[in-house]
């Protein structure tokens, strides 16, 4: 017997949350990998079938901890589809603002985790600290730091507080001034140049068929982003680019795409685009109501039918299939999380051949969030 078995997780610095990778290893090389999940299963989809349409708003942000707002947005969009509600313009802009702030904070977490796996521990300390300024903004806007329960079917729960946009501008200026430091520490670091290119490669021609989405797909050279291919909120009015391999601007193009290097550089460039989007929102946000005049939310009856809504989360396509039978509660909700494919069939296929030391950085570069796998 040449192989030995290695368990990475469920509590281990090399996993992206409470999940486990079961590896079979020959010497230093991974020969087979299997993902085991279930440590975070809380039965959200079942719970949603037994709560009213309104009560679910407070439940669903918990499906993805690093970026909870996408859940609120897709749920609201699906309910609006069934109800045939067109939300006010101002609400669309506020939603785009919340989703971009969530993307920024999730990317800061993803880059932190990734840097840790290649031994650059200063990055996590600084980026988690910087992320707190975004959480401060959320606290001022919604009263909560992590689970905001702010985006609501029909609009958002309340309007922006006084002076919020000024404070947002300050935080954006601060974050932008920090990018140079992130680059010195990670993105222009020799360790990153030596270790990340051509590691953990997803075959480009298979990427779409394997269900790869989000930054991981763009790192393969496809400029696909739900904000462009199936636009929502205020994104059709906003001007931004889709960073993808090999259009890396000032960053060197190392490796051949679809690798850890491209995936992380794409995330770094997306943060710049998020700031660009947020600055446009500050300038263009229209006056008007922040929500529709809603009927009594305790007695909502949503017309029977099927609706699917999707957004671009920091990890990829995030969608809800919501089915109503005309009652006071959803009949069935199916959550399509991006990690479902990245964390199971993609990593199981690309892990064989990796060095053990590269396994953690590959897993982190895919930015897997286990709670959206098992819900």
């Amino acid at each position: 017997m040449k192989e030995f078995e290695l368990f990475v997780g469920p509590q281990h610095v090399g996993v992206t949350g409470n999940m486990m990778y079961h590896l079979w290893v020959d010497g230093d090389t991974v020969v087979k990998a299997e993902t085991h999940v279930g440590y975070l299963h809380r039965g959200f989809e079942k719970l949603m079938e037994r709560r009213s349409w309104l009560m679910n708003v407070a439940l669903i942000p918990r499906i993805c901890v690093p970026e909870p707002d996408v859940n609120e947005a897709v749920y609201a969009m699906a309910v609006e589809s069934l109800m045939d509600w067109e939300i006010p313009e101002r609400a669309k802009y506020i939603r785009a603002m919340v989703l971009e702030l969530a993307r920024l904070s999730a990317h800061l977490l993803a880059i932190s985790g990734y840097a840790g796996t290649i031994g650059l521990y200063t990055i996590p300390q600084w980026l988690i600290g910087d992320r707190d300024y975004i959480l401060d903004l959320f606290e001022q806007l919604t009263g909560a730091r992590v689970y905001h329960i702010y985006i609501f079917p029909g609009g958002v729960r309340w309007d922006l507080p006084n002076g919020f946009l000024r404070k947002l501008e300050k935080v954006l200026n601060y974050l932008e001034s920090r990018f140079k430091l992130y680059d010195d520490l990670l993105f222009q670091n020799k360790i990153f140049f030596d270790r990340a290119p051509d590691v953990g490669v997803i075959p480009k021609e298979k990427a779409i068929e394997w269900g790869v989405t989000g930054p991981n797909l763009r790192a393969c050279g496809y400029a696909y982003d739900v904000r462009k291919v199936d636009p929502y909120a205020a994104y059709p009015d906003l001007d931004f680019e889709i960073p993808h391999y090999p259009k890396f601007g000032d960053f060197e193009v190392l490796g051949h795409g679809c690798d850890c290097y491209s995936r992380m550089v794409v995330r770094r460039l997306e943060m710049e685009q998020s700031i660009r989007i947020l600055r446009q929102i500050i300038k263009k946000i229209p006056d008007g109501p922040h929500t529709l005049k809603l009927p009594n939310p305790l007695a909502w009856k949503v017309p029977a039918g099927y609706a699917y809504a999707r957004v671009e989360s920091s990890k990829g396509e995030y969608g809800y299939l919501v089915i109503s039978d005309g009652g006071k509660m959803p009949y069935r909700v199916h959550v399509r999380g991006p990690s479902y494919t990245h964390g199971i069939n993609v990593i199981e296929k690309i892990a064989p051949g990796l060095n053990i030391a590269d396994f953690a950085q590959t897993a982190f570069s895919l930015d897997v969030c286990p709670p959206d796998i098992e819900r």
Binding site: A76, S81, D84
Partner: protein, 165 residues
């Protein structure tokens, strides 16, 4: 070819779903389980290369299990939802994991949560749940309260957030 063209060529009736928020059209069609594989292949060869999700719905009153195969085309920017209905008492279908590899994972979950058998998938077994002996928990007739009472001897008190009996 776009989705409407394919549906017309195959002679399948379809309906358009309501969309607010997103912009792309979504089409839903009920298809014959026997023909599903060929239909998915037809869509796949016409640009629908992104398999978004496989969802299962338990229609307990009608006695059906609905499986929804959801495809998206980056070329035409359209969504297609293909539904098949299986009898609820012994739901059984063939595995389609050779078409898109992530179907394997969805089949594992649906087997565990709804009890649908997929012939040809050798990884059906424990996936998310552990030591589960009761009926598949996402089925509509699974009584969570009864399960909690039998398994743990009680349900949460009213003052702890439980409901009145």
């Amino acid at each position: 070819m776009n989705a409407v063209g394919i549906f017309k060529e195959l002679g399948i009736e379809y309906e358009e779903m309501k969309v607010k928020g997103n912009k792309d059209p979504r089409y839903r069609a009920k298809v014959d389980p026997e023909k599903l594989e060929d239909i998915i292949l037809k869509f796949k060869n016409n640009g629908f290369r992104h398999f978004v999700a496989l969802s299962c719905v338990d229609w307990i009153k009608e006695g059906n299990m609905e499986l929804i195969y959801h495809l998206f085309s980056y070329d035409n920017l359209e969504d297609v939802f293909l539904s098949i209905y299986l009898p609820r008492d012994q739901p059984k279908y063939k595995s389609l994991r050779h078409l898109f590899p992530q179907i394997e994972t969805y089949e594992r979950e649906i087997h565990e949560m709804f009890g649908v058998e997929f012939e040809g998938n050798d990884r059906l077994g424990e996936f998310i749940l552990e030591d589960w002996e009761d009926m598949p928990p996402m089925r509509k007739d699974f009584d969570t309260e009864k399960y909690a009472k039998e398994k743990y001897g009680s349900v949460p008190l009213v003052e702890e957030g439980g409901e009145k009996e």
